[in-house]
C-alpha cells in the first residue's frame, strides 16, 4: 500500500470551491483520536492553529505539520483550527483535518 495521501475521486473531480462555509468538526476526545474544529476566517487572516495535546511537548510540532499538510493540499489559506489531541497518530490527524475541512467546504455530509 502506498504511503502517500491520495484523495478520493469525489474530492478531486469537478470544480471544488475551496472556500470554507461554516464551522465544522471531525474526530472525538476518545483515546487515540483528535477533535478538529474548523472555523472559516476572513480573506487575508491567514492560518491560526490552536493545539491542545496530551503529548504536546513531544509531538506538538509534528501534529501541526500534519494539519498544515492537509491545508496545503486543499489550498486553504485562511482558517482558524482548534485541535484537541488525545494521542492520535499521523493518519488520524490528517483524516480528521481533511474531513472537517471538506464538510465545511462542500456543506455536505455524505
Amino acid at each position: 500500500m502506498s504511503n502517500t495521501l491520495t484523495f478520493a475521486a469525489e474530492e478531486v473531480d469537478g470544480e471544488l470551491s475551496m472556500k470554507l462555509k461554516k464551522t465544522t468538526q471531525s474526530g472525538s476526545l476518545e483515546s487515540s483520536d483528535i477533535l478538529i474544529t474548523v472555523t472559516p476566517a476572513k480573506p487575508g487572516a491567514g492560518r491560526k492553529i490552536d493545539l491542545e495535546s496530551v503529548v504536546l511537548n513531544a509531538y506538538g510540532k509534528s501534529i501541526k505539520k500534519d494539519i498544515v499538510e492537509i491545508l496545503d493540499k486543499l489550498d486553504i489559506k485562511d482558517v482558524y483550527i482548534n485541535a484537541n489531541d488525545r494521542g492520535a497518530i499521523s493518519s488520524t490527524i490528517k483524516a480528521r483535518t481533511e474531513a472537517a475541512l471538506l464538510k465545511s467546504i462542500k456543506d455536505l455530509n455524505i
Binding site: 500500500m1 491520495t6 478520493a8 493518519s91 483524516a95 471538506l102 455524505i110
Partner: protein
C-alpha cells in the same frame, strides 16, 4: 489463492474508531473488517471513509485479510466508499444486503472502473458478498458465482431475521435453512462460507456451541465483534492433536502411493481415496502445517 486462506475469524471494527483500527491487527484474527456501514452513524460517514482510507494506506495489520464493509449499493454512500477505498487495495470489499447477481455485477463493474482509473490490475480487490435478506438467501448460488471477484459468501443474521420478521434466538433455528443454503451455495461456487456474529460477548459457552455447530455445517469461519471471541472460535476450528496425527499419516501415505502409482490404499483398515486425502489436507491447513 485467497480462497484457500484461513478465514476462521473476521473481526468487525467500527470504521470511525481510530484506536480500534490501529490495534486491529494485534489480536490475531484471520481477517479484519473495517466497517463503514452499520457501525458508523449517518452523520459520520465521511469522517469514517477518510479515516479508513488513511489507515489502509499506512497501517500494518500483521498479515490479516483486510476487508472494508461499504454502505449498501442502494445508498448514496456506496459509490463514494468504493472510490475512496478501492485505490487503497484492500483484499476485499464486503458488500452488504446483496440480493441478486445483478448487485454483484454492479459492484464488480464499479470496482473494475476504479481499478482501471488507478492502474490497479483488474480483479485485485475481491468481494465478500453478504446475504441478509430472504431474497438474497434464495439467490445465494447466483450471487456466489456472479463474478470471479466473489471469494466469500456470508450471512448477516441480524438483518436476515429482521427481514423475515422473526426474533433472533440463541439456538438460531430461524436461520438454520439460510445457513445451510449459504454453505451449499458457497461450496457449489467454490468460495468460502462465513457465518454471522454471535452477539453476546459474555456468553463464551454459547459462542463455542454455535461455532461447533456452524463448523459441522461446513462454514469456514465466523464474524466476531470482540477480540475476546477470536481465540474461542479459533480453538473450535483448530484440529485436535489426534486429528492432526491421522491427517499427517494420510497425506504422507498418499504421497508415497502416488510415487508408487497406487490410487487407492488403506490406513488402519480403512480405504483412503482422493476425498479423504483432501479432507486430511484441510485438517493440516487448519492446523497450520505446511503442505
Amino acid at each position: 489463492m485467497k480462497q484457500n486462506k484461513l478465514r476462521r475469524t473476521m473481526l468487525y471494527i467500527p470504521g470511525n474508531n481510530p484506536n480500534m483500527i490501529q490495534n486491529g491487527g494485534v489480536y490475531g484474527a484471520d481477517g479484519i473488517m473495517l466497517d463503514l456501514e452499520d457501525a458508523v452513524a449517518i452523520s459520520r460517514k465521511k469522517d469514517a471513509r477518510i479515516l479508513v482510507r488513511n489507515m489502509l494506506q499506512t497501517m500494518d495489520f500483521y498479515g490479516a485479510e483486510i476487508t472494508v464493509r461499504i454502505n449498501g449499493l442502494q445508498t448514496e454512500f456506496a459509490l463514494l466508499d468504493m472510490e475512496a477505498i478501492v485505490p487503497c487495495k484492500p483484499d476485499a470489499l464486503r458488500i452488504p444486503k446483496v440480493e441478486t447477481m445483478g448487485d454483484i455485477q454492479t459492484a464488480d463493474q464499479i470496482i473494475s472502473k476504479i481499478e482501471k482509473k488507478h492502474k490497479i490490475p483488474q480483479g485485485t480487490v475481491k468481494i465478500h458478498a453478504m446475504v441478509e435478506t430472504a431474497l438474497g438467501v434464495e439467490n445465494a448460488f447466483q450471487i456466489a458465482q456472479a463474478s470471479p471477484r466473489v471469494v466469500v459468501l456470508t450471512i448477516g443474521g441480524q438483518d436476515l431475521t429482521a427481514d423475515m420478521g422473526v426474533k433472533k434466538t440463541l439456538n438460531g433455528q430461524e436461520i438454520a435453512y439460510a445457513r445451510q443454503r449459504i454453505v451449499m451455495a458457497a461450496k457449489a461456487a467454490k468460495v468460502a462460507a462465513l457465518d454471522t456474529i454471535f452477539a453476546d460477548v459474555d456468553d463464551e459457552a454459547g459462542l463455542i456451541k454455535e461455532t461447533e455447530m456452524i463448523k459441522e455445517l461446513g462454514f469456514d469461519g465466523k464474524a466476531v465483534i470482540n477480540p475476546r471471541q477470536i481465540n474461542l472460535v479459533h480453538t473450535v476450528f483448530t484440529p485436535k492433536a489426534a486429528e492432526i496425527e491421522k491427517a499427517t499419516r494420510i497425506v504422507k501415505a498418499f504421497k508415497k502411493a502416488q510415487k508408487d502409482g497406487i490410487g487407492v490404499f488403506a490406513i488402519d483398515g480403512k480405504m483412503i481415496d482422493a476425498p479423504v486425502v483432501a479432507r486430511a489436507q484441510r485438517v493440516l491447513d487448519l492446523a497450520g502445517e505446511k503442505k
